[in-house]
């Protein structure tokens, strides 16, 4: 009984390979059942996302299982076996458990701390439960995995702080304005990154989008996209008076907004705060305006700086997360190894019961004239003797000691218990 992982991810395989071995849609159902059907596999689940494909199994013999799973993968997806061998990683036992914990806690993700992976792990587990392909080991393991990932999320700040420009802008906006609902934003110019930032703002509740562009047609087009309102580029200063968040990306070669203009505007705005994001290169807005009260100007480097700092912070938090995971591995293995002693205890008890029954039958045969009460007393005594005799070894087996494996073997030998497991 061993946890066993075979998989590949964005680090070991290109997108072409990942696409080929992905278990998407109906493939997942079928793959899961066929994987579980392999003779070497006792339990199975499949995690398939765009960044990784991993097969989690419970196997007896990792060497045989590894061979059989690889063959299955290459046949199922019709992929070259050599290509698979190059891309696959294999973990068993403690390394497998650690790997699964790290994946679910988003330590193995492309962007460390990204939150989707835990949901994907949960879905994969639910799918396996639905198809009844998991059992005692994987069920327990996945529950532990999910709780560990949650612990990592709450006890470290691995998922905190934005690690993309768009999110960094939203995060800043939320620290300037309490919430973004009802706020008015302006998109000055266009560009992929500016539009992305605008979308982030809208999905966080920004109410109105005003679009200004050198070419009015383009402004109209974008406005339709954002459900916003197009304005003439010359008119953007008047519109800015009632705007809270400005995203600027015009491609102009000089500043389109100067400090004295801004100063005048702030008076008109009665000093209502304004957040200006200038992602144009070269910059389109006089950097000096950041010195004005209630004006917060960020350029692309400022935002990138924040993203870099946050990424660095996440990596520091990841170290804390690794420690939490190490702490959680141990209790899982304690539980797993306690499973092994259970069959021995059962066998021991069965053996004792068997002896008691045999001897009682013999005795009653010899002395048939015994009264009901006397019979009861004798049975009682026999039960008490075997209970007292098997109690110490049972207790020792239940105990969590380092030499339990030896103990199990010794007890089996001493009491002549041969049958490995009773099913």
């Amino acid at each position: 009984m061993k946890v066993f992982v075979v998989g590949l991810n964005h680090k070991t395989a290109d997108i072409e390979v990942r696409e080929k071995v992905a278990f998407d849609g109906p493939k997942l159902d079928e793959g899961l059942l066929r994987l579980r059907g392999l003779p070497e596999i006792e339990e199975a689940m499949i995690l398939s996302t765009c960044n990784r494909v991993e097969l989690y199994t419970n196997v007896k013999d990792p060497v045989q299982a590894s061979e059989s799973i690889k063959t299955f993968l290459s046949e199922f997806h019709n992929v070259n076996r050599e290509l698979l061998d190059k891309s696959l990683y294999i973990y068993d036992d403690i390394n497998a458990v650690r790997h699964i914990f790290r994946v679910a806690s988003s330590l193995d993700s492309m962007v460390i701390g990204e939150p989707q992976i835990l949901g994907q792990v949960k879905d994969a587990f639910e799918m396996a439960i639905e198809k009844k392909t998991t059992g005692i080991l994987l069920n327990r393991l996945m529950k532990k995995t999910i709780s560990t990932a949650k612990k990592v999320r709450t006890e470290t700040r691995i998922a905190e702080n934005a690690v993309s420009i768009g999110f960094a802008a939203v995060e800043l906006a939320k620290k300037i304005f309490t919430n973004l609902s009802g706020k008015v934003s302006m998109l000055l110019g266009a560009g992929e990154m500016a539009e992305l930032a605008a979308r982030h703002l809208i999905s966080n509740g920004v109410k109105e989008v005003i679009v200004a562009n050198r070419t009015y047609e383009r402004a109209c087009e974008l406005a339709r996209d954002f459900n916003g309102r197009p304005v003439k580029f010359d008119g953007f200063l008047q519109e800015m008076v009632r705007t809270d968040i400005v995203i600027c990306s015009t491609g102009a070669s000089r500043y389109v907004l100067m400090k004295d203009q801004m100063q005048k505007m702030m008076k008109e705005r009665k000093q209502r705060p304004v957040f200006i994001i200038d992602i144009s290169v070269p910059r389109n807005i006089d950097p000096e305006i950041n010195a004005l009260d209630n004006v917060y100007l960020y350029d692309i480097d400022d935002l990138q700086g924040i993203v870099d700092t946050n990424m660095f912070e996440r990596k520091k938090e990841a170290e804390k997360a690794e420690k939490i995971i190490e702490e959680e591995i141990e209790p899982f293995f304690k539980w797993q190894s306690s499973l092994d002693s259970v069959p021995t205890i059962v066998a021991l008890r069965d053996k004792a019961e068997e002896i008691k029954r045999e001897e009682l039958t013999k005795l009653l045969h010899k002395i048939p004239e015994l009264k009901e009460k006397e019979k009861e007393a004798i049975e009682y005594m026999a039960a008490a003797i075997i209970n007292k005799l098997i109690h110490p070894p049972t207790a020792a087996l239940k105990e969590d000691s380092e030499d339990r494996d030896i103990l199990i073997a010794t007890i089996k030998r001493l009491y002549g218990i041969n049958g490995e497991e009773k099913k």
Binding site: N161, L172, F177, T178, K267, Q271, R272, N290, N294, T309
Partner: protein
Amino acid sequence: MGTILFELALIFYFVATIVGIIELFKETKITSKIILSMAGIGFAFHTVNIIYRYVTAGHIPITNFHEATSFFSWCIVLIFFMLAFRYRIKLLSSFIMPIVFALMLSSSMLPREIKPLSPVLQSYWLEIHTVIAFLGNAAFALACGIGVMYLVQEHYVKSKRPVGLFGRLPSLQTLDEMNYRLITLGFPLLTLAIITGVLWAESAWGSYWNWDTREVWSLITWFIYAIVLHARLVAGWRGKRAALLSIIGFLTILIAFFGIKLLRKGLHVFL
């Protein structure tokens, strides 16, 4: 008995202050709960202490400097809890409890005996005037603490290095609105305190205004907060300027409060 209650309040406020300062450097799940419960227990002892003194003396215990300082900090904690329950302003306690503790500490060092009430003070105005005045000042104390929080947060946003407390401090807008709200609470109370003071002066000394040190400083404070409110409504002085002014305003209150004691001049010498 009254002393022990006061001492206990002081100790619990002290623990709340220390944990509050720790919270600024290290975030844990429990610190904010510890602060609130420590401050809460301190406040309970403090309240009983004030009631005890009220019952023992037979009049509101704001008649010597020890009592006044103690009552001042009691009012701050009261308004702090009202705010904490309604708005959940993160880290507020870390900025307020030090003010509370400092006031309580100075109060603890002042003579505590209950002296017979001087005839000037024997008036129903005593209770009305002092309670209003201290509640107003307490609102300004909180506005000051929030003003400091605003300046810290604004520094993070302006310097473009959102690290440290940036993530945990409330947004600039929240802090600015809270600051404004507290000043609009404190200002009418201050105005009322001055009016009741004037009426009391007339009934005690026969003249409405005596240009005594406290009266002058109250007027200065009143003008500062009048400017804060006026400039905000007319010229949109908000954010950093409002925060700075609310800090200056509270410092003025403190100077007036402790300055008079040190100078021992004027008609308000009993306080």
